[in-house]
């Protein structure tokens, strides 16, 4: 059975994230000849003797000029039975929102630490963000071991520091620590000769062995309606009354004949068919994009949520408690109304209270009246209309939301629901 692992690299600026991805692809022979030639050409032009492997992902002109990563690069490779979707995130604080973008869909984070620097504020922030969005596995790559003579004590110092931090902040992710040199290729794909004292797996082995779950099949059924199919102009009498609810199953399973409830209205009906492209099937499971037809002609449209009548229902909430990551250069204006996007539903929202703002350095929860870019805060949000909310840790799709600024329509914050009323 083929599995897919989505992972990202994160950590402080210049800790070697892009070099590591380049190394991983290079040593796995996943780089194509012309890509490699391009990198060698550019490296040579800049006077380097060896190819600069960070150029594999740093593809923008500005990134190459400045030698930093600005936005996430996606790469794909296969090893054994597994397909990897890699997101190389930037370390620079200014671009934290791009790291959050990559983290939101990742199943594993490779957190790099420069062994000479130890944990920086940005290392901590990325670890906290990875945890906040619920990434279940963390590979802590203690990098640049070549610069400390591969000293095991230097590696251990980072391990202890991180474990202390993890305990203090209550990080939930499973953790692996790997000493490495991304530059020289020790413990990435090959073990190399410099780290005989390290007996654990290489990074690639960790990536290959990390278990991945197949969606949220065992959870209660959730189906946000994206679009309604009404081929009205058709002269075919069968199609004339056709009314299909198009969407992607966010969680659980559904079978033809089962009873559903539409939220927020609460109206009930029975599933008469499940189709993909007009072809019927018996079931739909988490992850499937299908069209659902109901026995009754209910008023259902984009923004409604179908759930199964026999399963636990989400909370119809007008007030939610959430962890919020502020992503916009313009700070949160507490008195402004934002547009809250939850599944396919959009409602007006206001931040009623900021309960605390997390100080990343001290892990203290400090009172705040404003939020600035990259802040991580607990807030209470008041909604003009109800949403069908689950807790984020229980169900991701119905537990997350965005805030959009109605002046620019930019995405200014990402929220994870922790409580709903």
């Amino acid at each position: 059975m083929d599995t897919v692992l989505r992972f990202l690299t994160c950590g402080s600026v210049d800790d070697g994230k892009s070099t590591l991805i380049g190394r991983l692809l290079y040593d796995s022979r996943a780089l194509l000849v012309d890509t490699l030639e391009g990198i060698e050409r550019t490296s040579r032009r800049r006077g380097a003797t060896a190819p600069d492997l960070s150029l594999v992902t740093d593809g923008l002109i500005a990134e190459r000029e400045q030698g930093i990563t600005i936005d996430v690069a996606y790469r794909y490779f296969r090893s054994g039975a597994r397909t990897f979707i890699i997101a190389d995130a930037p370390g620079h604080e200014q671009y934290t929102r791009n790291m959050v973008t990559a983290a939101s869909t990742a199943q594993l984070a490779v957190l790099l630490v420069d062994v000479r620097q130890g944990l920086t504020a940005q290392t901590r922030r990325h670890a906290l963000l990875a945890d906040l969005v619920g990434i279940p596995a963390l590979a802590i790559a203690v990098n640049k071991m070549d610069l400390v003579d591969y000293d095991p004590a230097a590696f251990e110092a980072v391990v202890y520091a991180f474990e202390d931090f993890a305990e203090a902040s209550g990080l939930r992710a499973r953790r692996h620590y790997i000493p490495m040199s991304a530059l020289l290729g020790d413990m990435v794909v090959e073990r190399g000769e410099h780290l005989p004292w390290y007996l654990g797996p290489t990074l690639l082995e960790v990536l290959e062995r990390t278990p991945v779950e197949d969606g949220a099949r065992d959870e209660p059924f959730r189906f946000p309606v994206q679009w309604v199919c009404r081929p009205r102009e058709s002269t075919d009498p069968l199609l004339h009354d056709y009314r299909g609810l198009a969407g992607q199953v966010a969680a659980g399973t559904l079978a033809v004949g089962e009873e559903i409830a539409v939220l927020p209205s609460g109206r009930r009906s029975t599933v008469t068919s499940i189709e993909v492209g007009g072809v019927p099937r018996e079931h739909a499971v988490a992850g499937d994009s299908v069209m659902i037809r109901l026995a009754d002609d209910l008023d259902v449209g984009r923004g409604d949520l179908l759930v199964r009548a026999d399963e636990s229902a989400p909370t119809l909430a007008r007030s939610i408690e959430a962890d919020l990551v502020w992503l916009d250069p313009a700070p949160l204006a507490p008195r402004r109304t934002y547009l809250l996007r939850h599944t396919t539903r959009e409602v007006q929202a206001r931040i009623e209270a900021i309960e605390w703002n997390l100080d990343v350095a001290t892990l203290e929860r400090v009172p705040a009246h404003e939020l600035a870019m990259n802040d991580i805060a607990r807030v209470r949000v008041k909604l003009a209309q109800p949403i069908a909310a689950d807790r984020y840790e229980a169900l991701r799709d119905t537990g997350s939301f965005l805030l959009l600024d109605p002046a620019t329509w930019d995405t200014v914050a990402a929220g994870m629901i922790r409580g709903a009323r």
Binding site: V4, I61, T83, G277, H283, T344
Partner: protein, 300 residues
């Protein structure tokens, strides 16, 4: 027991989700259909997303006037079979209007598509264009969001992209701008061929191996046509070739191949050592960042 889903199933379901987000969020979208393999996949995905209804958007092709006739015939036939509306706008017309000026009469029109595209966006008031670009194609594309915001001039600002989290895609843009949506962002060239094989999709004949007069130029095969004759001193040969990507005749090169079936192409694609663009683009060789520059100007 419900069968587990494969990687291709998941890619398909995500792409359908993205297409329906366009339908749900945008007032006036269009799907770019060139007749190429990526957009052929998009059409199948749109069928799975919207049938038995009609597509909630027309198909749009920006024709440089320098396309292979087989591909244009295929484009028209496919649109007719689907019963969907096809809009064609030509670089030729932009040249006649004076909005595109060629430096030389034989200059490649590829880059100028951006102007014709912008004119089509204005003419129809499109607020979203759906395209078949993939992140594995090129290093600037590897950086782009699934929903990518363009300003009034069609420009992409790679240093200032919107955050894009989970499956919550934001297609809203301020007046005058539009959004470009890429449903198969996470597909690789191999995924595309596997999907074509699985779905039994028809493609223009030039994707399969055939003998074609070519010259060797800069390590690539340049097809010899009326439009692109052999230059002084070049020898014309007729190798067996196929196209890995179809585009403007002046800048798309075929690769040597004997692969005449999808299965043979799949085998070659899995074993290839050269990227799709590296093997086929006569225009990208000139500068390290050609694609990023074109994209900034509004190119797809």
């Amino acid at each position: 027991m419900i069968a587990p889903r494969t990687h291709l199933d998941r890619l398909e379901a995500e792409a359908i989700h993205i297409l329906r987000e366009v339908a749900g969020q945008c007032q006036n979208p269009a799907l770019l259909f060139s007749g190429g393999k990526d957009s052929v996949c998009l059409l199948r995905l749109a069928e799975k997303a919207f049938r038995p209804g009609r597509f909630p958007f027309p198909l749009l092709h920006i024709d440089t006037g320098h396309n292979y006739p087989e591909v244009i015939a295929f484009r028209d036939r496919r649109a007719a079979e689907l019963g969907e509306r096809l809009i064609v706008r030509s670089v030729e017309d932009s040249i006649a209007r004076g909005t595109v000026r060629l430096a030389r009469p034989d200059e490649s029109r590829n880059r100028h598509q951006s102007v014709t595209l912008r004119e089509a966006i204005e003419e129809f008031g499109f607020d979203c264009l759906i395209g078949g670009a993939r992140r594995d194609e090129e290093k600037a594309r590897a950086k782009e969001r699934v929903f990518s915001v363009r300003d009034e001039f069609g420009q992409w600002d790679p240093k200032n992209q919107r955050p894009e989290l989970w499956r919550l895609y934001n297609a809203k843009v301020p007046a005058g701008g539009h959004v470009r949506a890429f449903p198969i962002s996470d597909w690789t060239e191999l995924d595309v061929w596997q999907y074509i094989a699985r779905e039994g999709l028809e493609l223009p004949s030039i994707y399969f191996a055939h003998p074609r007069p070519c010259v060797r130029r800069g390590g690539l095969l340049a097809p010899v046509t009326e439009l692109t004759p052999a230059r002084e001193g070049e020898t014309v040969e007729t190798p067996w070739v196929r196209f890995r990507t179809v585009g403007d005749i002046t800048c798309t090169a075929p690769v040597e191949s004997r692969a005449r079936t999808i299965e043979e192409i799949l085998r070659e694609t899995a074993a290839t050592t050269i990227s799709e663009r590296g093997a086929t683009r006569l225009d990208d060789q000139t500068h390290e960042a050609s694609m990023e520059q074109r994209k900034r100007e509004g190119y797809f």
